[in-house]
């Protein structure tokens, strides 16, 4: 449990570049191509994530959607007053998803969803100017969710199920802005934990008042990940009672994975055109502080205020059935940053963002389609700071200008029988 928290916390703190905090909104190629809308789009087994209630509306007895997305992201930072600059290594993140639904009868449909909504990989140049906040961080989490979808009536379906989360985290940063060992190597701490687990749930409803209009609502619960069995490794400290020993010790930390509410609607103009709109609200306000408590009572705890606010994302998607076997999609979203001014930590170097998406599906035969998507995220350049970093009892704000973007190409397969 605690492990999970830590993992989540780290994820939050690293904050991936493609959605608020460390949320990576890439949970299905068809939805992603349409601005990651989908709470009211009955399209494929991707509904297992976007709105499980809709699974009972899928044609065919067995529906499968699998896919993965490559995340290429980069952030640059500079401080014009000092001339310092740095950039992140654009490592490749790979969120993936696998959804299956099986229609038991006209009323009940069972499903299974495996997806990775939270994760982040940020690697700054080692010992860069903000290395006392983060050198590098890697967060991974996998959600596994059995589902049931119930068609209560022609107009109303409900769905949902329990979520099992398992996560890993690895986070390295320097102990302070200037502490080194006797050779001048920067003193640093790595915390590492894997297999942190916890449970949550999601529930949803799909309303289909007519042939063309659909409305949906989906809620995924907050999950607190708590790390108890992780290891904190202290390196390059001098041999002194005044500094932590160069050892590995346990630590405890908690990271909240915030709840997410989505409401949306879709409208089919005709056989060819479909428009979808989703509104996401992520309750990031639960992320107040990342507090790492080390096992050795002589090592001071690491208190990292985050003070996030709940944030919204507005998504728009358009689908065009160009040919019998070819569907084109495009979309746009605006993603509000949960970070308040003065709390911009470089482990989560993200600001308000505009996302531009596109993609297509090519139906190979009656059963199999290939889905391709891409997302380009442009974060607004921001001159900001992280103020609550404390050294010797005094706030030492870390300031600068950030500019980030991300490019996420994705590929998937849809199968129905």
């Amino acid at each position: 449990m605690k492990k999970l928290l830590v993992v989540c916390l780290f994820m939050l703190s690293t904050a991936s570049i493609y959605a608020g905090g460390y949320r990576v909104a890439a949970q299905g190629q068809r939805a992603l191509a349409m601005g990651h809308t989908g709470v009211a789009v009955v399209n494929s087994a991707e509904l297992a994530f976007f709105n499980p209630a809709g699974l009972s509306h899928l044609e065919g007895q067995l529906n499968v959607s699998v896919g993965f997305t490559g995340v290429l992201s980069q952030t640059k930072w500079q401080n014009q007053n000092t001339g310092q600059f740095s950039e992140t290594d654009s490592g490749l993140g790979t969120p993936f998803n696998a959804y299956v639904s099986y229609k038991i009868n006209e009323t009940f449909t069972a499903g299974l969803a495996i997806y990775t909504p939270y994760g982040s990989s940020v690697e700054w140049e080692k010992d860069w100017a903000g290395s006392h906040l983060v050198n590098d961080i890697n967060l991974e989490s996998i959600y596994v969710q059995p589902l049931i979808s119930i068609r209560l009536s022609d107009e109303i379906s409900i769905g949902g199920g329990p979520i099992f989360v398992t996560g890993n985290v690895n986070f390295n940063r320097n102990a302070s802005r200037s502490l080194t060992d006797l050779e001048g190597d920067r003193s640093n701490v790595t915390i590492d934990d894997s297999g942190v687990t916890n449970w949550g749930w999601s529930a949803s409803m799909l309303i289909t008042p007519g042939e063309k209009f659909k409305a949906g609502i989906n809620y995924r619960s907050e999950i607190i990940l708590s790390s108890e069995d992780g290891k904190a490794t202290f390196r390059d400290f001098t041999n002194s009672p005044l500094t932590p020993p160069n050892t590995t010790m346990g630590f405890q930390a908690e990271l909240p994975l915030p709840a997410e509410l989505t409401i949306g609607a879709s409208y089919e103009f005709n056989d060819k055109w479909l428009l979808a709109f989703d509104y996401n609200r992520i309750f990031w306000n639960v992320y107040e502080s990342l507090d790492i408590q080390f096992e050795n009572p002589n090592v001071p705890n690491s208190i990292n205020p985050r003070n996030y606010k709940a944030a919204s994302t507005y998504r728009l998607g358009l689908q065009f059935k160009a040919l019998d076997n070819l569907t084109l999609r495009t979309g746009y979203y605006f993603d509000e940053s949960p970070v308040k001014p003065g709390f911009f930590a470089p482990e989560t170097p993200r600001n308000d963002a505009n996302g531009f998406t596109g993609g297509l599906s090519f139906q190979i035969n009656d059963q199999i389609a290939i889905d391709a998507s891409f997302l380009y995220v442009r974060f607004e350049e921001v001159k900001t700071s992280y103020d609550p970093y404390i050294e010797n009892g005094v706030e030492a704000p870390f300031e600068g200008t950030y500019n980030s973007n991300a490019f996420l190409p994705g590929i998937g397969l849809t199968y129905n029988l």
């Binding site: 500079q78 014009q80 007053n81 500019n403």
Partner: protein, 515 residues
């Protein structure tokens, strides 16, 4: 069909091409330096720094690699790079221990680190380890940083100052390491590099040796013949002015400009602030015993000598020894007092020669006296393990342990004279000027805030001064570098960025200490 796929492919390709693969900051510090930072009238392509330990990056009582990287010239050179500055080579030591060997024998000790004893008290101690830097292994190449720890003004122009055969008095082992030839002078090696820009910070050791030795040397004011100087003398301000002029003239031959620094008050450094003149805690009983010992001296001896007019009433008063419960001032021999040793041995006192010697120039310290940091381990020790012979309490401290007001005045007078020379020459030659004297007074009096703290002269915790109590920390040198950059920008119209002081080195804790 095919045409549709083609169109889609083209649209996709166009989309991908229009998005930049990398985020771009505008203007970018990395790519648009020409636009962001200008050198103005200055030319930073070949910056050469000339000076002493403060230029070399000396800290914690030694010169070591990590400290050298935090030297103020190296910090400045790093910032000059934004405005056309080139490489900056330093004669780096071979290790981070800092000790120096001469012909295989260790002649200078390792750096100080902050060690914690069993009782939990932190104090500076020498780092353990066998140093590897051999002074006589001469480095090849030229060095932008011509800071030579220990150098006095006139030694920068001395030929043979880097000649190993002139060690230990007429040569400096640090310069022996990187002099271009045994007979080269520091300034010759600096000028030979055709600096496009220079810094000069010299004169500190022209008073500092006198100060840290407790004034055991001679004030050479009025004597311009440096060959007659001892190691702890005060340099004649006339000689200083003459040398300083020559140094600046030489460096100015090729330079577009430069920056010069004046000399801080020695009283502003922790070396003279850590140990108070009244460090002796006594209980009432011990104080009474001591007073009884000095009663005869206070009343009969001083009173009698004043009565006969051998010393003034005023001097008799200043020589009184009085202890009380609480913290007490040390007793010392003050060379400025009338020597009583002969008169005390004669009638009517008839005091034995040894006691007469003890009383000859005895007085108790006052708040105006300064005690060197290095005396902290001496005061309170006993002589010959005799518990009644306590240094500073019942045995007067010798000259080296106290910097008396007269000695402070001599230092102050010389410092003022040097500083007038420096600021005058800076103005005459259109050089940027850094008033280190007032900067360190400010550090001492109110502190100077930086992002994440306040630089004060508080020992160990003040961030400014390293563990030797004289030289700066990386943070302290960063402050000096920023002030220099500010002065340069103002004078030459350049826009060199300053550094974030909080990023630089402070005190290093370690219990790996020499036993």
């Amino acid at each position: 069909m095919k045409s549709i796929y083609l169109k889609i492919s083209l649209v996709l390709a166009a989309f991908i091409l229009t998005i930049s693969c990398e985020p771009e900051l505008d203007p970018s510090v990395e790519d648009d330096q020409d636009q962001l930072y200008q050198s103005g009238e200055a030319n930073f392509t070949n910056y050469v720094s000339v000076g002493n330990s403060l230029t070399a990056g000396y800290m914690d009582g030694a010169l070591y690699v990590d400290g050298q990287k935090s030297s103020f010239p190296n910090i400045m050179a790093g910032q000059f790079e934004f405005a056309g500055g080139g490489e900056f080579n330093q004669p780096l030591m071979d290790d981070n221990l800092g000790g120096l060997l001469i012909n295989g024998n260790q002649s200078l000790s390792n750096r100080l680190v902050l060690a914690v004893d069993e009782a939990g008290n932190p104090a500076p101690a020498e780092l353990a380890g066998t140093p590897t830097t051999e002074a006589t292994n001469t480095l090849s190449g030229t060095f932008n940083n011509m800071g030579v720890p220990g150098a006095r003004s006139f030694e920068l122009v001395a030929n043979g100052y880097g000649n190993a055969s002139n060690l230990p008095t007429a040569a400096n082992p640090y310069f022996v390491r990187f002099a271009s030839s045994p007979d080269a002078s520091v300034i010759e090696d600096a000028i030979a590099q055709d600096p496009s820009f220079f810094s000069l910070w010299i004169g500190n050791n022209d008073v500092l040796g006198y100060a840290t030795s407790g004034g055991t040397g001679t004030d050479q004011t009025g004597n311009p013949d440096a060959t007659t100087y001892g190691a702890n003398d005060i340099t004649d301000p006339q000689l200083f002015a003459q040398v300083y002029n020559n140094l600046v003239d030489g460096l100015n031959q090729s330079a577009s400009g430069g920056v010069v620094f004046n000399i801080p008050d020695v009283t502003s450094i922790p070396f003279f602030q850590v140990v108070p003149p009244n460090p002796i805690p006594l209980d009432a009983e011990t104080a009474a015993q001591l007073n009884a010992q000095f009663d005869l001296y206070n009343t009969q001896v001083l009173g009698g000598l004043a009565q006969i007019g051998f010393i003034s009433e005023e001097e008799a008063q200043s020589r009184q020894i009085n202890f009380s419960e609480g913290n007490n001032f040390v007793i010392l021999q003050d060379e400025n007092l009338t020597d009583l040793s002969a008169v005390l041995q004669g009638p009517p006192f008839n005091i034995d020669p040894q006691t007469a010697q003890t009383l000859s120039q005895l007085r108790q310290a006052t708040p105006s006296d300064l005690i060197p940091l290095t005396s902290s381990s001496f005061i309170g020790t006993t002589v010959n393990d005799n518990p009644s012979l306590i240094n500073g309490v019942s045995v007067p401290l010798s000259d080296q342990h106290v910097l008396t007001p007269e000695e402070q005045n001599a230092i102050q007078a010389a410092t003022n004279a040097y500083n007038e020379t420096i600021s005058g020459i800076a103005e005459q030659n259109n050089l940027a000027f850094v008033d280190v004297n007032s900067i360190l007074n400010q550090v001492n009096e109110s502190g100077i805030p930086f992002n994440g703290g306040v630089l004060t002269s508080e020992f160990v915790t003040g961030n400014s001064f390293s563990l030797d109590g004289v030289h700066l920390t990386g943070k302290g040198y960063a402050l000096i570098a920023n002030r220099a950059i500010k002065a340069i920008n103002e004078l030459y119209g350049s826009t060199v960025p300053m550094v974030n002081i909080g990023d630089f080195k402070g005190i290093t804790p370690s219990n790996n200490i020499a036993q």
